[in-house]
């Protein structure tokens, strides 16, 4: 999509088309001859995996929409009708429901990979921000999709999440009413959620196009974080990465199939097989697993508005990350201290996810009551959430900005090809590189 094109039209019709709409050239430059660093590891295969996930969700979703009835009286039964009476409806519906979870597994790995290898740093800031937009759209899509079966968790989840906007001062109530299309979560809400749930994936697909475009301008980052210096550092995307990504995609599909065929309801909540009843609130309202870390942040703050701000802030901070990290070294491979803080960050995210699925008052160490600090026992999920939330924001707002100025990175290789040479003794002088000592 950028740089010199190596495409040469070979047939008459290709030449004819190339001077009118160079679409074959676009495809050739994007996925055939696109020069790709030769040292990409398997963490880099999740981009391709995500494209497959989006494709699966759109195809299955379009088929589901042919049979689904977006009405409060019929939605629940129509989903079961799909599972029972539509040919292979069980396959399509379970694929779509489990596909959402798979999509999030892949996107989280993709994001952590970007964080670890500094893929958000110059010149890839726009690429990173587009990714954040995709993630935000994904969250909105997944949330609205979960409402559609109109089970108990669908309904009460929708009530909880839409009520968050009610925390906004002055305009909160008006916004909530506007979102609902009435004075409660009801048929109007279900209808608009269905409409938006159908629309957003195509917007995601559009932003994915931009994301790939923004990727192909600077080219891929790589595990060393060192820029591509020469042609020796790269291989053509096809066949080298089509085959590697293809292998990883099939491995991922095996994981997908394990859930889909042998435990299709493991990632869902049993309460969502109870038809929605506004008069009966489930004992514990929990979102799907992929929202649990944010749910934990929301509940960590005793004030509703504060919780909402922090929860959205947890995503907003990702958008400005390229300017928060002051280190010039991209890859954490060469930032030993940064690597340690990153690992703790991953643990903090997992801890938040765990806390989000627990009751705030549950003990972290069972059976041990310590003392009440402010509003809750110190040995409780709510305090563990607070600790992890503090680290989550501390990592972005304090550690990354300061660390880049103070840490001493280890030596980076001069080029991508250097570290893979099997005989370090044979390296040309200076190949060990002038390490960037500070920042």
């Amino acid at each position: 999509m950028s740089g010199h094109s190596t495409y040469e039209p070979k047939t008459g019709i290709e030449r004819w088309l190339d001077t009118r709409l160079p679409i074959v050239r676009l495809g050739w430059d994007s996925i055939v001859d696109y020069p790709t660093p030769k040292n990409l590891n398997y963490w880099w295969t999740f981009g391709g995996i995500l494209a497959v996930c989006l494709g699966i969700q759109i195809v299955t979703g379009v088929v589901l929409a042919m049979h689904y009835v977006p009405h409060v009286d019929h939605a629940f039964a129509s989903v079961e009708r799909i599972m029972r009476d539509v040919n292979y409806g069980w396959l399509v519906r379970y694929m779509h429901a489990n596909g959402a979870s798979m999509f999030f597994i892949a996107v989280y790995i993709h994001m952590f990979r970007g964080l670890y290898y500094g893929s958000y740093k110059a010149p890839r800031e726009v690429l990173w921000i587009l990714g954040c937009i995709i993630y935000l759209l994904m969250m909105a899509t997944a949330f609205m999709g979960y409402v559609l079966p109109w089970g108990q968790m669908s309904f009460h989840g929708a009530v909880v999440i839409t009520n968050l906007f009610g925390a906004l001062p002055i305009v909160g109530e008006a916004i909530t009413t506007w979102l609902w299309g009435g004075f409660a979560v009801d048929n109007a809400t279900l209808n608009r959620f269905f409409s938006l749930h159908f629309l957003l994936p195509f917007m995601i697909a559009g932003v994915v196009g931009l994301h790939i475009w923004a990727l192909h301008v600077p080219g891929n980052n790589n595990p060393t974080g060192v820029n591509v210096k020469s042609k020796a550092d790269t291989v053509p995307f096809h066949p080298y990465y089509t085959v590697k990504d293809g292998f990883a995609i099939v491995l991922f599909l095996i994981l997908f199939a394990t859930f889909l065929f042998f435990n299709p309801n493991a990632l869902g909540h049993a309460d969502n097989y109870i038809p929605a009843n506004p008069l009966v609130t489930p004992a514990h309202i929990v979102p799907e697993w992929y929202f649990l870390p944010f749910y934990a942040i929301l509940r960590a703050v005793p004030d509703k508005l504060g919780g909402v701000i922090l929860m959205f802030g947890a995503i907003a901070v990702l958008f400005v990350l390229p300017w928060l990290d002051t280190s010039k070294v991209r890859s954490m491979r060469y930032r030993p201290t940064g690597k340690l803080y990153f690992m703790i960050f991953v643990v903090a995210c997992l801890v938040l996810g765990y806390c989000g699925g627990q009751l705030p008052d549950n003990h972290v160490i069972p059976g041990l009551s310590t003392f009440i600090l402010i509003d809750a026992d110190l040995n409780s999920m709510v305090w563990l959430s607070r600790l992890a939330t503090l680290y989550y924001f501390g990592y972005f707002l304090v550690i990354l900005p300061l660390l880049g100025l103070t840490e001493t990175p280890t030596a980076q290789p001069e080029s991508i090809s250097t570290p893979v040479l099997s005989h370090p003794a044979g390296m040309p002088a200076g190949a060990v590189a002038a390490p960037e000592k500070k920042g």
Binding site: R84, V250, T258
Partner: protein, 280 residues
Amino acid sequence: MLRKGIALAALGLALVGGPALAAGDAKTPEPVDFSFKGPFGKFDQAQLQRGYKVYREVCAACHGMELLSFRNLGQKGGPFYDPDYSNPNDNPYVKTIAAEYQVNDIDSETGDIIQRPGTSADAFPSPYPNEAAARAGNGGALPPDLSVMAKARKYGPDYIHALLAGYREPPAGLTVAPGQYYNPYMAGDTTPFWTGEGHAPEGGFIAMPPQLAPDKVTFDDGTPSTIDQQAKDVAAFLYWAAEPKMEERKAFGFGAMIYLVIFAGLLYASYRRIWRNVAH
């Protein structure tokens, strides 16, 4: 290393299993060795037939199953599937079962509301004309529809079995309100009703009285009709009702897995071959 791993695993289990006695927790259902568990598990057709009989003679008096039609009983994997009748609507068992029910209809000649015997294509009629009638007949409680009950509760069929066979005399010190019954597997919190020593008993109260009794249902295949057997069979039947395509799903999955594993092997071999001359 291994010992360390076991110690860590034990610690993990202790952390997970520890708070089992916290207030408001129901007893965890004991796992039942159902034939349909596991990646290759299939329904036991004789068990489904017994389970249907329990449903028909006990549960159906109060609980509907509105997402199911009679024809479902004769579908592949169903309790009355017969390979001779690939169209379940023609299955004589299904036709007979359907005809035992009276379903509402409209006389096409006069427009009058009538009742006629059910056909294979009809849905299971609900036992009550509406929710108010159902509540009026059950002391204010609403017997839930059982179509997807086995998916709508944690532990699914294990829970249904445990609940139905798990009624106990309330421990001394537990006040049970009229029209309520104590069950250790029922979700809820007994603390406000507990005046005895120590921790309030696990479980909660349910408006459904114990339904099963020895020999309450006669099993045509000679299986001893104990409470435990009846509970197991009806739990299996309800799991089938909730997941009628389970056998098809697992068979499809088995084929898909073989395909994917072979495909992955071929791709890995291609990957090794294509990359063999690239140092990376």
